[in-house]
């Protein structure tokens, strides 16, 4: 059991892969944005990779343990301290009842993950414990943690002193520039050749108006094919308007001239084109990048994106832990 002393900026219960199977009814998967760090945290404490844990964003929470246990902290460096003593990341640690874990503001990366042996034991909703605060479901009463709450943890037995092997954990950009893979489509035929070239060769700055719903980007103007200009009025007035359609998760959704990457808590449909899609294997980079940092997009095939997801899942296995 974890008592919330300070909630942090927006700390929520998430599990992996989240609430799958309800996208066609408007429910996104939610789940951790950096599922690589999240899965490793679970493996460190002996949980199944998908067990529910905490995602802290930008500014972490302060939590008091109500019983002895084993925890691991991964992802962003929020300079965690246990009763004032600095703790290492990427390592399983023993904690005792009455001790206080304090996470500060993120020094590198954005999202930190806290796994507890046994896993967080809030009631699942539609098969997942992930918080989706826009609908007020999952997690602790549907929302981010609040001061004074007690987060239930299932019984579990972890082993302290386990670490992540070298080369098995994500490395965050230190030069504020991230290379992000994209797959063309579903609406790539609405953008002209110059538009594609511009998209793939420009720096795109992450706006601070970005959250778990969408990552808003700032960059050059888009240009379109004839299809975007000569269309039935039902599509809408903007070149990027299209008759409402389903969106893939990770879609780079073009709202007028502003691309917004639809992420874990994003919408499942709407009336804008999506010229490119960020594959799930690149989501960890989105989750750990700060406003003002730059994305450079690299086009890959669907097969290459699937291979990246398989490689990532292979790294999120007990063989990465020593």
């Amino acid at each position: 059991m974890l008592e919330v002393i300070q909630s942090g900026l927006e700390t929520s219960v998430q599990d992996y892969p989240g609430r799958l199977g309800y996208w066609n009814q408007g429910f996104p998967p939610s789940g951790p944005m950096d599922s690589w760090s999240f899965r490793l945290a679970n493996l460190l404490v002996g949980n199944a990779v998908g067990a529910a844990g905490l995602e802290a964003q930008y500014m972490g929470p302060t939590l008091r343990f109500q019983r002895d246990g084993v925890i691991a902290i991964t992802g962003a460096d929020m300079q965690p301290k246990l009763d004032g003593q600095a703790l290492p990341l990427w390592e399983s640690l023993a904690v005792e009842a009455g001790q206080t874990l304090a996470l500060g503001s993120a020094k590198s990366g954005v999202r930190a993950y806290v796994a507890v042996a046994g896993g967080i034991d809030t009631p699942p909703w539609l098969g997942s414990r992930s918080t989706f605060h826009k609908a007020g479901v999952g997690g602790m009463g549907g929302y981010a943690l609040k001061k004074g709450q007690v987060v239930p943890v299932a019984q579990g037995k972890g082993t302290p002193g386990r670490r992540v092997k070298d080369g098995c954990r994500p490395v965050f950009a230190t030069d504020k520039v991230w290379s992000i893979e994209v797959v063309a489509g579903p609406n790539d035929d609405w953008v002209d050749g110059a538009g594609h070239k511009r998209f793939l060769s420009s720096d795109w700055k992450l706006s601070s108006k970005s959250d778990r719903t969408g990552f808003r980007l700032e960059g050059p103007q888009w240009t379109f094919t004839e299809k975007a200009h000569k269309k039935a009025p039902e599509h809408g007035s903007e070149p990027s308007n299209i008759i409402d359609q389903g969106y893939p998760l990770g879609a780079i959704n073009l709202a007028g001239q502003t691309p917004i990457i639809l992420v874990n808590d994003g919408p499942s449909m709407g009336g804008f084109i999506c010229p490119y899609t960020v594959p799930s294997a690149a989501f960890w980079k989105l989750g750990q990048s700060k406003p003002g940092e730059v994305y450079r997009f690299k086009a890959i095939s669907v097969e290459a994106a699937q291979a990246l997801a398989r490689e990532l899942s292979a790294k999120c296995s007990p063989s990465s832990i020593i």
Partner: protein, 72 residues
């Protein structure tokens, strides 16, 4: 007691509520940073006078850990 108030999150400076020379009390909100469509107020940790303000309203893309307001 002097205090250097730093930004605790990266983002845009949404509001600056003090200027050089203002008297502030511990707990007074000095400025608000916006990130993830969330307001993050930054407060004084001490009573004193604002010596310098290093951020401006509307400033975009500030980093975390940046010196924002000096109190003496």
């Amino acid at each position: 007691m002097a205090e250097n108030v730093e930004t605790v999150v990266p983002g845009n400076v949404w509001k600056v509520l003090v200027k050089s020379g203002d008297k502030v009390k511990s707990g007074d909100v000095l400025f608000i940073v916006e990130v993830m469509k969330t307001e993050v107020p930054h407060s004084a940790g001490t009573d004193g006078t604002v010596k310098a303000v290093h951020i401006a309203e509307g400033q975009e893309g500030v980093d975390a850990g940046m010196l924002a307001v000096e109190i003496e």
